[in-house]
Structures are given as C-alpha cells and as structure tokens.
Amino acid sequence: MLRNYLLIAWKVLLRRKFFTFISLVGISLTLATLLVVTAFVDNIAHPPLPFLKTDRMLFVQTMMAKGGDNVIFSNAGFGFHDKYVRQLPDIEAIAVIGSGIIDAYPSGQKVRMNVSYTEASFWHIMDFEFIEGGGFTEEDVVNVRNVAVISEETRTRFFGNTSALGKMLPIDGKSFRVVGVVKNVSATSFVYSAIWFPITIDFVPEARSEIVQGVGGGYRSIILAKSVNDIPRIKNNFQTMLSRVQIPTPPFTKMYGGATSILESHAMELLSMSDEDEDFGTRNSLALMIGVLVAGALAFMLLPAINLVNLNVSRILERASEIGVRKAFGASRRALVGQFVVENCILTVIGGAIGILLAELFFLWFAWIDFVPHTTFHINYRVVVYAIIMSLVFGLLSGVLPAWKMSRLPIVSSLKGGINV
C-alpha cells in the first residue's frame, strides 16, 4: 500500500514539474530558515567544548534585588557567591567569574578584548583544550600572582604563531606571565574570553563582602554538582539559601534568582530580564522559551503552508477523476486522505532535505565571513531529527485539509470533474 502511494507520489511529482519546483522552493526555504534557528538553539543547548560536563552544571547569573520600590537586575557581588553559593551542599566545585573589557596594544594597535577573572576551580569545571601549559592554580589566585591564560587568538595577536608559555603579556601597564594557551571558544559561549586572570587581580577592597553588585562589580558563578541527580536538590537549596541572605546595603532587602541549567539560563536571558515578579529565576522560562520557539516555528510555517494548501487544492482538483475512481472501487475517505498526506509529506521531506543542504551552505558562508567568531555551526543528527519532524508537521499542516476536502466530493462529480483533464 505504502509502496504504491510512494510510487504514484513520485510519478505525480515528476509529471507536474512546475508545481513540484515551486512547492519545493517554498518548502525548502521555509525549512532551511527554521533549521538555521534550530541549529543555533541546538548549539546553545549542547554547546561544544569547553562544556563537557554541562548536565552537572548550574549557572548563577542575573539576580534581582528588591527593596521598597527599588529593583535592580544585575550579577550579584562576589560576597554573595563566596559566602552563600559556595556553602551549598552537594557541590563538587564552584567557580566565580567576573568579566570585563580592556584595551590592549599588541604590536602597537589598540584592540578591545573580553577578559575574565576567575578562580582555579574554573579550569576543573570547564574542559578547555590546552594547546600549551594549563590553568592557573589556587596558589596563583591566593597570592594575586600576575599570571594569565590566553586564547589561541590572543596568542597570535601578541606573539605570532610561536609558543607563548612563560612569556610576558603587557596589559594595563602590568605584565602577566602566560601559564596556558587554550583553543578558541565560540563567541556565543558563556565562557567566551580572550584572557583569563586570577580573580584576585581585579579585587577592590569592598569586593569580598558585596552581596548586591556594588563598586566591586558583578560576578557570575558556575556550580558543578557531584552528580546529575543532585541538581534538583541544589536548585531547591539555592532558593532556601536566598531567603536567608542578609543584604547589608540598603535599600535592598531581598534577592531573587536561581541556579539554572545552561538552557534555562539562556531562556532567562532571553525572556525574563525586565519583569519584576518574585519568581524571577525560578519560573519555568525554559518551557516558555520552547513554547515561544515552537509557536514561532508554527507561525513561520503557516504562511507557506497556506500557500501549499492552495497549490495542493488545485493539484488535487486536477486529480478529481482519480479520486472518483478510487472511491468507486472502495477507497475509504481515510485511505484517500492518507494517500494525499503521504504524497504531501514526501514533497515536504524532499523539501526538508534540500533545506538541510541550504542551511549547511548558509553555515559555510557564515563561517567564511566569520560572522560569529570561532564558531562553526553544523547540522548534526539532532537537527536532522528536528528537520524530519518539522517537515512532517509541515506536510500534515498543508496536506490534511485539502485532502479531507477533496475526499468529500461525491463520486459522480469527481469523475465528471476529471473527464476533461
């Protein structure tokens, strides 16, 4: 039965070349666009190195502090991460991270660079690929040593393509000894940076005790749980801990936020920044984001689907005689709808395949113009699975309605309608 459907579908597609071409253009462009978005999202949800232990990681990022009518959204002070987050049970490691932008002058030219200030545990939590050396140590941090880990790109900027290990990096009138060189990470990564310094390098005296972001600046932290199973408990404990936080700096009296997975963190960044509800950080932003993405994808498919419905109606009308014959010989309406939906899905799946190629081409071009530095997007097997799902949804969306309508035509009129075709 299915073989028969496939056969006839193939013949019909070949015979109505223009229709097929127009449909495929529409379908493949639509799906290619969706696939590009999907690949971006997939890249966020399943980031490449240095994110290896992502499923055990929780991120403490933007927090909300309230007091009277005052609300701020910002990364918390170092003291919050140090005194409170670090004390949570079931944690294998935590790395507090501050970031900033500096101007450096490699070979005399000014370059703006993203830099990070972090703890030695950072190198344990993240799985950077070291080209040379390694991360700085706890000793380096405690003793405020002028050392730095740099990215490959930074090495090239300052030292050309030679080894940088042990060399001195001139920044802000100081000299930092390079202890490690890591492979470049994507500019979209949570831990994108050109240089990493020991966190203590950056400390102003107040920083150690600040809970809400103050003159010491804001910090994020990455928690590594001992096991994946501990994640829900850590999240709960984080909330309990929040209710006990003492904020010494008026007017703020209470903090809100959450320890969130990488995907939730991105969802929060995208969706909940400006909203002052007290479930900030704990509400299900992830479900909301997925909902928004799915709704967006459906909405985006709607117009091409309507278009395809129209094309389909005329295409199926041309085959009124065939429908009449099939009904006359005992095809049920379900069988007919099945046939036309299968045919349509073949079309959309072919469109999806072309869409994958288009999306991959787009990413090649993306990489070529270096749109997002150090990032290569690819259509991986997960995206292919999404592509198949989207193609089928698209096929159903655009196939069921015309097929159902057509299958309702009385047999005799169908046969008459087909005579002159």
Binding site: M1, R3, N4, L7, I8, K11, V12, R15, S321, E322, G324, V325, R326, K327, A328, F329, G330, A331, S332, R333, R334, A335, P410, I411, V412, L415, G418, I419
Partner: protein, 240 residues
Amino acid sequence: MTSIQQPNIIALSGVEKMYRTDKLETQALSNINVNIAAGEFVSIMGPSGSGKSTLLNILGLLDVPTHGSVALHGKNVESFKDNELAHIRNKEIGFVFQSFHLVNDVRVVDNVELPLLYRKGLTGSERRRMALEALEMVGLTSRTKHFPSQLSGGQQQRVAIARAIVGKPRLLLADEPTGNLDSKMGDEIMHILHTLNAEHGATIAMVTHDERLAAATDRTIRVFDGNIVGNTVWKNTVLA
C-alpha cells in the same frame, strides 16, 4: 430456476434523479422501479441522454437518488455509513465506466490492481498475480507495463474491464463495455462477461447500444427520457 425467484441483489423503487445546475433542472430519471436478481445478466438500452449511466451509477451505489430508495440484498442503502458503502463497493461491486477513467499516472497493471489496494489481507504479490490474471482474461498480457496514454481506446477499455473484474465482484456494472471495440473484440469481452455470469455467478448490468449483444443477455431494460419503457426477457432461466 427462474430469475424471478432468485433473491434480488439490488432493487430500486420509486427512484428519481434530478440534476440541478444554476438555472437548469434536468430530470435524469423519474419513477424508476427495477429489481435485479442475483445471477442475472441484464442489459440496459436507450438513446443518448435517456439516463442509462445515471441509472447504472445509482445501481452501483456511486450516486444517490433524489427520491426513492435503493436496497442492496434487501437492505436500504441509506442506512449504510460512508465507509460501509466504500467497503461494499470494494467487495461486491465492479464498475466499467463509459469513459474508462484510468489513472494515467500509473501503469496498466497498477490500474488493474487499484481495487485490491483497498482490500485487507492481500499481499503485494497476490495483488500482482490477480491483476495479471485479469489482464490475461481481457487479452492484454503484453501491455501490463504500459501507461494508459500509450494504449488505444479499445485497449484502455479492456484495462477498465480488467480492473472491474479483478476483485471478482458479485455485481458488475458495465457502461458500454464494448463501445470502443471492433465486433471481434466486442465478442471476446461478451464472452468474458458471460463466463463471469455463468461460472462465477456474477450479476451483471450492462449498458449497450448493440441490439445483438443485448439479445444475448437474460433481459433488456429499455430506458427513454428517464423512464423505463420496456422490459424484454430473452431467457427465462439463468444457465448454470
């Protein structure tokens, strides 16, 4: 045994068919009462436009009358649901359309297989075998891989006949099945129909313009202007 004593396979009583287009109303059939007994071979004659095809469509459950009732095996077909009707058409009824209505996108053998696609419990090779057998009966074994457009009118008609008989229907409705055939080929088709009728007990209603072919059936119903105007019984018995 006489045909009259056989139970009716299909019976129309008081059937009217009205076609309405924007302004025009055509009364295609008026007050038709027809009983066809199981095992009968009936021919239908009448001038063009007299309502023969309309009658055949109603007998084949392809169309519904505007008034009156249709009973299949004594049961009013109005009581059947859509997919029950589909099932009945599939299992019991074969149709040869006046204008063939072959599916041009698929090969001859796939056209013949078409009714079997909607029958449960048949494997692909069984379907294929049955289709080839039916094509052999109509003398088209050498054209199975052709597409309908590559065949002559007469050959297309024979494909249509093969498709109608492939499922061994108990009721075969044929709208001028020999209309496009020379007399030799026409006789061969008639022979097939007579064999189906005599050996497989198929009930047949056939529209024809050929008085000679009509005389070879059990009975001829004459239609004029939507009315039945004559009923000639040629044979009183159904030969076994």
